[in-house]
C-alpha cells in the first residue's frame, strides 16, 4: 500500500513546465519553514545562556556548549523520567498489540450475528471524547488503590488497546486473501494455529504501526501521569519536563531546549527507523493514531 504513495501520478513526463517549477519551489519553501523550529531548538540548546539574551539576536551560536545536554539531563532528571516513561509506554504498547490483535482477528473472521453490532460499538469509541470518561475513571482507579502507581496508565491498554488499534488491524486483516485461511482450514489447522502461523506474520506491518502509535501516544501523554502520579520517583517524562526546575529565577531556555530535544528524540528515532509503518498505518486506517 505504501507503493502507491511512492509513485508520482504523472509518470514519464520530465518536462519542467512553469507550474512544476512553482510547485517545486513552494514545497521546498514549506519544508524550510517546517524545519525552522527544529533548527532553532538545536541552536538554542547548544548556546551559553548569556548569549541567548544578547541583542541583536545571534542567529547562529558563536560558542557551542555541548555540556548543556549533560546539565539538562542532570537538572531535569531526564534519565529517571525517561526510564519510567519507557517502562510504562513499553508495557502499555505490549498490551495494546496483543489484545488489539486478538480482538481485531475476531472482528475480521469470527462468525457471530453480534459481530457487526459489537464492532460498531467499539468503533464508536473513536468518536467519544476522552474527557467525558476521565473523572469517573479516576474515581474507579482511586477506589482500586491505584493512585500513585503506573497501573492506571498501563491497565486500560490491556483491554483491546482502543478503537483505533482494533480498527487498523481489522482493516489490515481483511486485505489478506481469503484463500490463505481456507487452505489452512482444509489442512486441518485450528483457529489459533491459523492466527499464529498464517495471519499474524502476514500482518506484521500493521502490528508494527499499532505498536508505534501506541508507544508514541503513551510517551507523549501529559494528562495521565499528571493526575495519577504524585511520587517524583515514579513520575513520567512529560510531567517532569513541564516542571523543569529553574532555580535562579531566570528560565534556562538552553537547558529546556536540550531537555525538550531529548524528550523528542525517541519519537524521531522511531519515525526515521520505521517511517514506512507510520505511513502504512495512516493509509490503512485513514486515521492519525
Amino acid at each position: 500500500m505504501t507503493d502507491v504513495l511512492e509513485r508520482p501520478r504523472v509518470t514519464g513526463r520530465r518536462r519542467w513546465t512553469a507550474g512544476r517549477v512553482v510547485a517545486q519551489l513552494i514545497v521546498l519553501l514549506g519544508a524550510a519553514i517546517i524545519l525552522v523550529p527544529f533548527l532553532w531548538m538545536l541552536r538554542t540548546a547548544v548556546m551559553p545562556l548569556e548569549d541567548l539574551f544578547r541583542l541583536p539576536v545571534q542567529w547562529l551560536p558563536t560558542t557551542v556548549e555541548w555540556s548543556n545536554f549533560a546539565e539538562a539531563w542532570v537538572r531535569g532528571k531526564v534519565g529517571r523520567y525517561a526510564l519510567n516513561s519507557f517502562i510504562v509506554a513499553g508495557l502499555a504498547t505490549l498490551g495494546t498489540v496483543v489484545t488489539a490483535s486478538i480482538s481485531a482477528y475476531g472482528f475480521a473472521y469470527l462468525r457471530s450475528r453480534w459481530r457487526s453490532a459489537l464492532f460498531a460499538m467499539v468503533l464508536s469509541g473513536l468518536m467519544i471524547p476522552g474527557i467525558v470518561t476521565l473523572v469517573p475513571t479516576y474515581v474507579i482507579f482511586r477506589e482500586l488503590g491505584w493512585l500513585n502507581t503506573w497501573m492506571p496508565l498501563i491497565a486500560p491498554s490491556w483491554f483491546g488497546g482502543g478503537a483505533f488499534s482494533v480498527f487498523l488491524l481489522r482493516q489490515f486483516f481483511r486485505t489478506i486473501p481469503r484463500e490463505l485461511r481456507e487452505a489452512a482450514t482444509l489442512d486441518g489447522a485450528s483457529e489459533l494455529r491459523i492466527y499464529a502461523r498464517v495471519i499474524a506474520p502476514l500482518a506484521m506491518p500493521a502490528h508494527a504501526a499499532v505498536a508505534i502509535f501506541s508507544f508514541l501516544g503513551v510517551w507523549n501523554d501529559l494528562f495521565g501521569p499528571l493526575i495519577y502520579i504524585n511520587d517524583d520517583a515514579l513520575q513520567l517524562l512529560p510531567v517532569g519536563l513541564a516542571a523543569f526546575p529553574n532555580p535562579q529565577g531566570v528560565t534556562a531556555w538552553n537547558l529546556m531546549m536540550a531537555g525538550a530535544l531529548m524528550g523528542m528524540l525517541p519519537c524521531l528515532v522511531l519515525f526515521f527507523l520505521f517511517q514506512r509503518y507510520f505511513i502504512q498505518g495512516i493509509v490503512t486506517s485513514g486515521l492519525r493514531g
Binding site: L5, V27, L28, V57, V132, P136, G160, P238, Q275
Partner: protein, 280 residues
C-alpha cells in the same frame, strides 16, 4: 473480540454513564458523595461565566486550527501529488512534527513565541515589523496557538495524499480531452473525489481540537486573563485541582454535548458537499 468489547464497556461506556450520574452529585474527596439534582448544571450554565469563556475560547481555537490545518494540509498534498523531485524526503520533513506532540513541543513553541528573542519576532524585526507579544497578549494568544497547530499538518497531509492518489487517472485524462484546465480539474474532479476523505478527517480534527490541553497547561496556564482557558483545562482545574469531581463531570458532559452537536452538524452537512459516488 472480547478484550475490545470489555475495554469499551469498562473504560468508555461504563465511565460515561458514571460521569453523567456524577454530574448530578456533589462529589469531593473527603466528604461522602451527595445527590444535588440539577445544582451543578444550573451553576455551570447560568452562574459560572468561566464556563462560557472556556467554551468560547475552545471554539475559537478549534475553528481556526481545523480550518487552517485542513486547508494547508490539502494544499501541500495537492502539490506533493505533482511530480515533485525529492518527494520522499519532503514527505518525511512535512510529517516529522506530527510524531513529536506533547510537552516538548509546547516548551519549544513557548520559546519560539518569545516576544523579544524568539525566532518569529526576530525574523519579523529583520523585515522591519515589530511582532505581537503572542502568548502574553489576550488578543494574540489563540492565534499563536492556531499558528502552532499548523506545524503538525503531516498526518492530515498523508491521508489526503493517499486519497488523491486513489483518484482514477482516466477521470483526469477525460477532462483534459474536454479542455478543462488545472484549476477546473482540481475543483470538478479532485475535490469531489476526495471529499469523503476530507469529511472523515474534518470530523476527527474537530473532536481532537476541542480537547486541547497540553498547550494551555504548559504554555499559558489559561492566561492571560483567561483568554486561553480551554474547556479541558477548566475541567482539569475543577476536577483535579479543586477536587469538585461532580462539577467537573458536569463540565465534561457539556463539552461532550458541544462536540456531539458539532459532529452532528458536520455529518448533516455531508449531503451538501460530500460526493456520494466517491464514498465506498
Amino acid at each position: 473480540m472480547l478484550p475490545a468489547v470489555l475495554g469499551f464497556l469498562l473504560f468508555t461506556l461504563g465511565p460515561m454513564i458514571f460521569s453523567l450520574v456524577m454530574s448530578f452529585m456533589d462529589y469531593g474527596v473527603i466528604t461522602a458523595p451527595q445527590w444535588v439534582g440539577l445544582d451543578n448544571w444550573r451553576r455551570a450554565l447560568f452562574e459560572d461565566p468561566l464556563v462560557w469563556q472556556s467554551l468560547r475560547v475552545t471554539l475559537y481555537y478549534a475553528v481556526g486550527s481545523v480550518v487552517l490545518t485542513s486547508v494547508l494540509a490539502f494544499l501541500v498534498a495537492l502539490l506533493m501529488n505533482q511530480p515533485i523531485v525529492g518527494q520522499r524526503v519532503f514527505r518525511t520533513i512535512y510529517y516529522m512534527p506530527s510524531v513529536i506532540s506533547g510537552v516538548p513541543v509546547a516548551i519549544l513553541w513557548t520559546w519560539i513565541f518569545n516576544p523579544t528573542i524568539g525566532v518569529i519576532n526576530t525574523a519579523l524585526r529583520w523585515v522591519g515589523i515589530e511582532g505581537p507579544r503572542w502568548l502574553t497578549s489576550p488578543e494574540w494568544v489563540i492565534p499563536a496557538l492556531i499558528l502552532m497547530s499548523s506545524w503538525s499538518i503531516g498526518g492530515a497531509m498523508v491521508i489526503y495524499l493517499a486519497g488523491l492518489q486513489g483518484v482514477p487517472n482516466e477521470l483526469y485524462e477525460a477532462a483534459q480531452l474536454d479542455g478543462a484546465g488545472a484549476v477546473r480539474r482540481t475543483l470538478s474532479i479532485t475535490l469531489p473525489m476526495v471529499s469523503p476523505v476530507i469529511f472523515f478527517n474534518l470530523v476527527m480534527s474537530i473532536i481532537g481540537s476541542l480537547q486541547v490541553f497540553t498547550q494551555a497547561y504548559v504554555m499559558t496556564e489559561g492566561g492571560p486573563i483567561n483568554s486561553s482557558l480551554f474547556a479541558v483545562l477548566y475541567i482539569y482545574r475543577n476536577a483535579f485541582f479543586y477536587f469538585q469531581m461532580g462539577y467537573g463531570s458536569t463540565l465534561a458532559w457539556i463539552l461532550f454535548l458541544v462536540i456531539g452537536l458539532l459532529t452532528l452538524l458536520v455529518f448533516r452537512s455531508q449531503r451538501i458537499w460530500v460526493h456520494e459516488e466517491a464514498q465506498s
